[in-house]
Symmetry: D2
Subunit: 331 residues, 4 copies
């Protein structure tokens, strides 16, 4: 019996997840909701999913799982709603911008014994998975140090930044999760700094567009993270982990793998334009992993606690950037 | 109005094309045929296509285009059948192993004014397209020399080889088409050699598993091609073109873009295992290009004459390998 | 008239500099000193340089310049001696492990109007020079953020560590200088952390073997540095600088540029074993730059103030690692 | 006792070899000859070598070995002269442009039991040596197929081409030797083609500027070679060898290993400008190998027969290009 899905939110990422559900032989895309009727009806037409309200989906007997692609400020509430309704929940990160709210939400998840997966898509990128596998296979020994680089092609609009929680909770949070994922546990402390280099209006909003951080683990582990809202050569996404016996690194993915050599030298085309093209495989893989987990697979998916963990690091990093002191990370 | 498709042949490549048609907003997968009912019914179930016979498809008013994934020895006959029935035809290469038969078939296509696209999928690979675009954009000047490398992970079974037409018509034909595509015209002469290095049974079958060729153009252009049925590190697919002002080269695509560095050095994972994983994007792109062409797009697709051209080069190459002389290519 | 040189210290690095002086058409290696007579006589025999005492060299009319490859604790004193004697001085870094002592020494240099070059060899590496040139040529816009990675193949012996000043003054000091060199000015603040991951005996010595730092500039610039005393795959030396219009990065130099592909994947040989093989060109270039500067060239060489600057950053970094606070860098 | 050398020919390559001899602890550069006195005196001044005539060098008791950097048409005669005089001879390739003359010369070498090394410098390039070592270590199994690419930055002047013997004897001869070196034996047959693409005046001289060849071995081995007198991106020098168990390839050496990424993509600087900068290490290594061989080392050096072998392949390739037939290679 295929698992029956509803998608909430039929925007750009909702469409990506809808396709992944529809292409998976073990799932059926049964329902879709979006406050914008045209958006919902496009997915409905393409995949034969019924258009329903949030309440109808929660109440439906024929829906096993929901995918939340709704605005962040609805996430916690909807996770609670669907957990109580007995649905498995896949939620785009973050659960909430406030860790106290996340903790409250995760209590409901625990009480209701719901399955909650948080959309840390990068864990499902083939290249980062390759790094993780190299570590797990013992090829580099115990992971000890790391360097993570994330650079967005350009800064988002002011409206987005206002609601984003700032660079640490919106952007570097992915790197914090990646660090935890690859190092195999939570850091105890963070030092961070931020500045505004690309657009003065970001300073007006109280945010940074450029940030660096050092995470420290109790066993001596260290991870350096460098973030920028600007990378004119494309979406720059790299990780490297150093262990006692070697190093594993994921290179940037080049969408067009050519070189053109002229008198000026060798040129390769720019990187992907952003996450929607860079993480095509990761988005499909994460939905497939969710479906597999619901079917009993034990491969491991990022759960609510992972969402909370990354947020706790982000909160500490923000405090460090503001106080110029190393900050212990809450647990 | 979406274009209505039928797929003939529901094997591995038929499934790939079925998915591409189904995912294209301008097309509908309306019918499927396969002599093995289970194969046809799987595609039928997944995409809601009707199961029909070849004759029903040819006679159907509601089918605009067919995709032929049938055995090679049926291609010419089916192209004629569907051309006469007023359907547009996408046919997997080759049209036939004998150039005389291909010529006869193309006469029917011409008489019936049918659209025929031949499945030279590599023309739609993003990397090879990148090389072609660099040439067309004038970045390397006029193309003058080329080096093309194709190495299969392993030799096919004897049964396949027997029906394949041999390494020049089955394998190097892709490189011949690529050479014509990138150099922008037909070569006039070919020198080739072949030997058996991987499996003595291939010699028994009168074929080679290793072959090299040099194509020469009337204007002095030269392309070297190296083929092997064995590459333990994966499916090796590279082209480079040198022009008066530079060079454009497509690198191998690495499915997992990581490096692991240990005391033994830096290691990257092997290449794709074969064409089904290597050319995922190319297969989707070629069907999309066919659909776009039917809709009036002018982007250019490989047509019947391209299929004939590559076969004529292959026939000359085989003769050259057997006679140890340069052989003029028929037109 | 060639410039006449004396080398003080005929050990490993002394031999490297002796060869560079001897190979330069504008210089003559006239004298050599080493307390170990065999060491001095080897250089003497090979290049026809006279064996002399420190005092004789200082007093000699026929010596224009000295190269100090003596132990660190003699550097400041010898710089003062030769500055007062009217010789130009090339001194291996550091001038001294204590910034107060360096300041006193540089006062003598200034008073005597001597030329003092400090051996920050990496500024003369062709790859790092290429990054610097890309910045100076405006190819990446104003430099804003950087990532610098230095990983030694293995930890030095305890005796070395004891006299080294610790990882920040001994190892990361090169990266601090590189950061100043590439960013074009002094940072105002540093956050750093250190731990012991490779050898517990390093902890006993009060040092770290693994360290991370973030440098901050007044204009918002940020540079992340990651250091380790262990890299089993060879001597890992990379820099990248991000500017408003792009990025410039120096890759690791591979002494043997081959790839071997097998069923296990693609393998490249390890990196250089350490600085003596990695920085062959840099060592020759820096002596040539010194000779050129003495001849009136204006290409720019690292002077005493550069040595002091890097040391001041190192002192601040050490304090930051010990106090877990960002530390302002003295000027 | 160091081996005492004379250099004949103090031009560009003579200076390179003079430096290598002078830097080798087991050798002394004792004498130099050049018809242009200034050229000889420059080397004489720099290394303290005596200026002598050819006859004086041949007659000298204190000269053990000579390095011939004289014009090609003097090589055979001088090899004979110095062989008879009991000197070891290092001779720049080729021995002669005519294989009959080479055979006669080698008879004298054999009769006099002289040591003759031919300057196939590429055998001593670290990267090509790495490929050879990978083969010899069995990492790729038995070598079976190869692809060799040599592209010069630009065509030489007409005067040079007239005396060069043409592209096969002057340029591709290096690749023929490399093919023999890596495949481990002589091919039995060659197919080749040539054309003029860069400069019509080369056609007037009866030569080609672009050539492709396929070498075939009796055991089925095949090597493809592509040559051009034009590569605007620098001196392009690559080899790859495929064996039963894998592939070994030498990449181009990038003198400046940086990448600059902008909105236009990632750019690396061009390659070396030509052989004098590309093969710095190879030139030093080959002289060191000659000196080591004279001292009894058994590492293997290219001898007279290797020079003849490459020439025999070149003669067959030229005939093939002219006759459009595969040509058997003389032995």
């Amino acid at each position: 019996m295929p698992i029956r899905f509803a998608i909430l939110g039929a925007g750009r990422i909702g469409q990506v997840h809808a396709r992944a559900v529809a292409n998976n032989n073990d799932a059926v895309l049964a329902a879709v909701f979006d406050p914008v009727a045209e958006a919902a009806s496009a997915i409905s037409a393409q995949y034969g999913a019924a258009m329903r309200s949030v309440e109808e989906i929660a109440a439906a007997d024929d829906i096993d799982a929901v995918v939340l692609c709704t605005p962040t400020d609805l996430h916690a509430e909807q996770i609670e709603l669907f957990s109580r309704a007995g649905k498995a929940v896949f939620c785009e990160k973050p659960i909430d911008l406030d860790s106290a709210r996340v903790r409250a939400c995760l209590e409901v998840v625990e009480e209701t014994d719901a399955t909650l997966m948080v959309g840390f898509n990068r864990r499902f990128d083939p290249h980062f998975m390759g790094v993780k596998a190299a570590i797990d296979d013992g090829r580099i020994g115990a992971p000890e140090m790391g360097i993570i680089t994330s650079r967005d092609p350009g800064a988002p609009p002011a409206d987005y930044i206002k609601r984003s929680g700032g660079i640490f909770k919106d952007m570097m949070i992915h790197d914090f999760d990646m660090a935890v994922f690859l190092m195999g546990g939570m850091p105890e402390r963070v030092m961070a700094t931020g500045s505004v280099l690309t657009d003065p209006s970001i300073e007006t909003l109280g945010d940074y567009d450029s940030a660096s951080a050092i995470l420290s683990w109790a066993d001596g582990g260290q991870v350096s993270i460098s973030n920028s809202r600007r990378a004119v050569y494309g979406y720059d996404q790299r990780v490297e982990v150093h262990g006692s016996a070697g190093m594993a690194a994921a290179e940037n993915e080049h969408p067009v793998g050519i070189q053109v050599a002229t008198a000026q030298g060798y040129t390769r085309p720019p990187l992907h334009d952003f996450f929607m093209t860079r993480y095509v495989a990761a988005y499909a893989n994460e939905i497939n992993a969710f479906i597999a987990a619901l079917g009993g697979a034990t491969g491991g998916i990022p759960v609510g606690r992972d969402g909370l963990n990354a947020l706790l690091i982000a909160e500490a990093a923000l405090e460090s950037a503001r106080t110029s002191k190393a900050v212990d990370i809450a647990i």
